[in-house]
Symmetry: C2
Subunit: 206 residues, 2 copies
Amino acid sequence: MTSKGERTRNQVIALTADLMNEQGWLGVPISQVMAVSGLQKGGLYRHFESREALAYAAFDHAVARVRDRLIDSLTGCETATEQLLALIHAYQPEDGPVPLPGGCPIMNVAIESDHAHPGLRERAVDAMSRWRSLIEQIVLDGMRRSELRKDIDPANVSAVLIGGLEGGVMLSHLYDDPEPLQAAIRHLHHYVEHDLRRHAPEDGTP
Amino acid sequence: MTSKGERTRNQVIALTADLMNEQGWLGVPISQVMAVSGLQKGGLYRHFESREALAYAAFDHAVARVRDRLIDSLTGCETATEQLLALIHAYQPEDGPVPLPGGCPIMNVAIESDHAHPGLRERAVDAMSRWRSLIEQIVLDGMRRSELRKDIDPANVSAVLIGGLEGGVMLSHLYDDPEPLQAAIRHLHHYVEHDLRRHAPEDGTP
C-alpha cells in the first residue's frame, strides 16, 4: 500500500528522471519540473527538501531503471558467456528502445557535471562501479569454471565492454541512428566469443 | 601578420573553448567568458555578434585542436595498419594528456546539447562524420592494397574504433584515471592487428 503522498513523490521522481536525463542533470530549472509535474513550488518542496535532493532521487531512479533491464536480461542464462552476451544485447533489445529518453544516465552525468556537481558525480561513479563489478564477477566465475580463458583481466574486460557500449550509445544518440550501437554490439559479441571464451585446444587436451 | 584585434579574437576563442568544453557548451554564461577573458560585454560583442557565434567559433577551434593532434600522429606512417594504430594511440599519447581540458568536444556536445541546441549539434555531427570518413578512407585504401581483409565494412570499423575510444575517454574522465582508456586502446590495437589486418594464409598462397 502506498499513500497518495508517496505516489505523487514517485511520479515526480520518474518525470524528473526523464526530463533531466534528456535536457541536462544540472541545467533543468525547478520551474520546468513544476510545469511537467503540475505541482507548485510549495508542493514540490513538501516532497523534496531541495532541487539537489530531487535530482539525486531522480538519478537513482534512472540508474535503477537501466539496471533492472540489464539484470532482467540475465534470466535463464547459465554460462558466463551467455550472461555477458545477454548484457551486451540488452543495450539495444529488439523489442524497443532504451528504457529512458536521453540515453545512459551515468554517461550523461559523467560528461555533463565534470566538477560542477561533486554529489551527482559521486553517484555516477558509484553506479558505474557497481555495473563494472557485476561484469567482473561474471568474468571471474567464468574463469574459475574454465569457461573463460585464464589469462584475462576482469577489470580490463569490464572497461572494454562498458566503454564500447557507452561509446556506441553516444554515437547512435548523436546520429539518431541505431547502427553505430549495433556495430559495437556485434564487435563485442565477437570479442566475448573469440577472445574471452575458452576454446578446447585442437589436440583434444582439456 | 595578425592585427591586435585578430589576436584578441583568437585568444578569446581559445579561452572559451577550454571553458565551455570543461563546464558545458550550453551552460557557461557570457559573464564567465568576460571574467576569464578580461573583456567587457561591449568588447566581446565587438568580436562576436552573439553568444552563439562565440560558441560556434570556440567549438570549431576545439575540434581543430583535437584533429590536428590526430592528423599529426599519421606522420611517417605508411601502411593502413600503422595509420590506424597511430590514430588509436594518439587518444592517449605518452607525452601528455589530451589537448583540451574536459575531454572530447564532439562527445561533450553530443551528450550535452540533445535537442536544446540544433546548431551546435549539427556542427558535432559534421565533425564526427569527418573523423569517421578519415578512418573509412584509410580502411578502404588498406583493403585495396590487400593489407587489410577484404570482408570488412569500413563504416563498421569506424564505429567500433571511435565508439571504443570515446567510451574509454568517458570512463577515464569519470574516474579521473587513465586506465579505462588504456584498456580501450590495448583492445582496439589487438582488433586492428588481428581482426582487420590480412595475415598471409599458412599454406603460403598469397
